[in-house]
Symmetry: C2
Amino acid sequence: MTGLRTDLYELRMAASYLRRDMVAPATFSLFVRRLPPRRGFLVAAGLAEALAFLEGFAFDDDELGYLRDVVGLDQPTVAALAGLRFTGDVRAVPEGRVVFADEPLLEVTAPIAEAQLVETGVLNLLTFHTTVASKAARCRLAAGDAELVDFAFRRTHGIEAGAGVARASAIAGFAATSDVEAAWRYGLQPSGTMAHSYVEAFPDERAAFRAFAADFPTNPVFLVDTYDTPAGVRAAVEVITELGLTGPLGVRLDSGDLAALAEQTRAILDGAGLTQAKIVASGSLDEDVIAALVAKGAPIDAYGIGTRMGVSFDAPSLDSAYKLVAFGDRPVLKLSPGKATLPGPKQVFRDPAGASGDVVGLRDEPPPAGREPLLVPVMRGGRRLEPADPAGEVRAARRRFDADLAWLPEGARRLADPTPLTATVSPGLAELRDRVTAQAGRGGAY
Amino acid sequence: MTGLRTDLYELRMAASYLRRDMVAPATFSLFVRRLPPRRGFLVAAGLAEALAFLEGFAFDDDELGYLRDVVGLDQPTVAALAGLRFTGDVRAVPEGRVVFADEPLLEVTAPIAEAQLVETGVLNLLTFHTTVASKAARCRLAAGDAELVDFAFRRTHGIEAGAGVARASAIAGFAATSDVEAAWRYGLQPSGTMAHSYVEAFPDERAAFRAFAADFPTNPVFLVDTYDTPAGVRAAVEVITELGLTGPLGVRLDSGDLAALAEQTRAILDGAGLTQAKIVASGSLDEDVIAALVAKGAPIDAYGIGTRMGVSFDAPSLDSAYKLVAFGDRPVLKLSPGKATLPGPKQVFRDPAGASGDVVGLRDEPPPAGREPLLVPVMRGGRRLEPADPAGEVRAARRRFDADLAWLPEGARRLADPTPLTATVSPGLAELRDRVTAQAGRGGAY
């Protein structure tokens, strides 16, 4: 069960609400306060994982026993938690859409104890997936037409994170993943051939390449940098020629000066008539390294991108928040320095022409002329409006990202010194903010 | 099942080995090639998780069907994988011990297909846990005698990563975690009281504090920065006085100038006779912020440290590797530029006096005078030598870290510009390296 997958303070607050019969619906809004340096946009991701978390949220007997015996919750509270499920409504920006700072990605409306208990899981999942999808999107911008493969699994933050990275990078347009479980779960293309250890397990490179090609004649990719790269490429060429391989195949470069080695490798391959052979590059790649390789015209057909994408090395998290914006019929806010929030349930209105930034307004206000709302209902009464479809969700998200990438203004796409679009506040929301702030200043949070 | 929790290339290589009856034992060595900037040492962590992964490694029928039908492995290979378990031996540095670059943290010896298949999971888990424990250790160094609490769960890389961060930070000396599931699983102290949303759900701060203290009179911590911090502290004092609370309690500051606010808060609390009330600080903390607060003499008793520790913000991964060092009876290495490896099974020999860096030698060579070996046997024939004990393992690891922290030379402890100890290579290992390199240069990897 998943009920303990929360912060202790959520449980204490929920217990207090349940004891006091505070069951009015609360709306919490999840947003990113500011973009990390060098991010011109974010790619919304993780929603399907968050909805699965919400549908599964419940406490089993062992968990309830822990809360009673170790955490010290009293019996009436434990009994109330035993029957608790998430019964709320969720509106969200669909996965794959491009978003910016200060815009709600998701809003939960539920009895306040439920909405509070799920904060940790929902915030965790949307933050993680959006962080990685946004980093992966930068790799895609850098790589042009080259194919991208997720090689991150070995250094993600745990095993589950590996699957999350595979999913998030697929949304951003990666063509395949090395993570077999993730490929299975999400209908992705699994990818991978050999490591240095394979080459070392044979008496020499030719023997290793010959064995591998015999066992996997469909699209073998020979790793050529174990000892000396040009010699490794020539060994691959000999084996390819000797075995008469004519289908798709390639070589992988994993170390050294990739631009120079790719040139040399291309020349050796072409000289042997293997113009169809692809060159795959890997090894500590990120969008900056790829952009530099592309700028040099390195003849690289595909990039295997690992750790630096999978942990979003330069910005491994987002300044995300899940904040109460309404309780019962009153909008609320907080005024903490640097962390003030906007009251009330919201909507984001986008200009499909891309000529101006998004407008953040009230949930129920009519869209400004020509603008489209970004948040859509995705869950009602604790049930998803669309049944879970792990592979279909990723495909749909990737299509949305493709469309939004075409829409995204040049300034926000830039890898270096990007200019993100800035969201503005609608007159209706500004009026509500000023009114609630004035009331809070007089001692209440209404 | 867990068999698909691997990279596709591991499966292809394993399939090739199985087809060719290449069943000789291989030894793979896991080490960190270089420390991240600003790290003077690492804290070994994740071993118990890796051993659980190894014990559970197996393919179920659905997974085998996927490998046959989608990945395209042939039936004899699928049949071989159906019966495959990890049957190897593992030696490792115990969790909690301080380690440095170029030292094996773990060595696996197993039939090569098995040793290859588990690479991804073992490398993933040791890298992730060691990354986070090492960051958490820096927070501990910064905080002096103040108590540290893991608040990272909401922004770790997924739900499972939250539990991993709680565990890794506990090894480094954190006193408690907000992650309830992790506290349950690993016998940690769960911690947390209220969020801003709780304060906002009541008509004013006094009403919120009064309700919370009534529901949780044992050690309540009042969050005082929702609207105006000094006013919040005064509201807490009024409620404490009104309800006659005399046990342990405190206030939490989560925004603003924490040093100045802590001073003001201490003065208000002391002025009301609440000298026992603790001040907890949180909000984008890391070792640098904490060190600055400590340097200013800020009267803060405990720190809640979240995202920046939980994703190891400034160094979210390590340059770790899992490399073949022996196959059958021959030591092997690779010579890739910048990624060359040392051949043969190894041992790390430490000077308990701390006067000199570790010596990396051959597994079976006698320890140099006065030095102790760091790697110990932890698994034989695929079974752990000690039964799993999630809570006991964390406690033992924390004790080891306490001892190693007392041993660690000052230069390596420094937060800024640390000087890590440098491992040297024993004469025996150097001789083997030179011999194997010369042979590889003549065309073989022996």
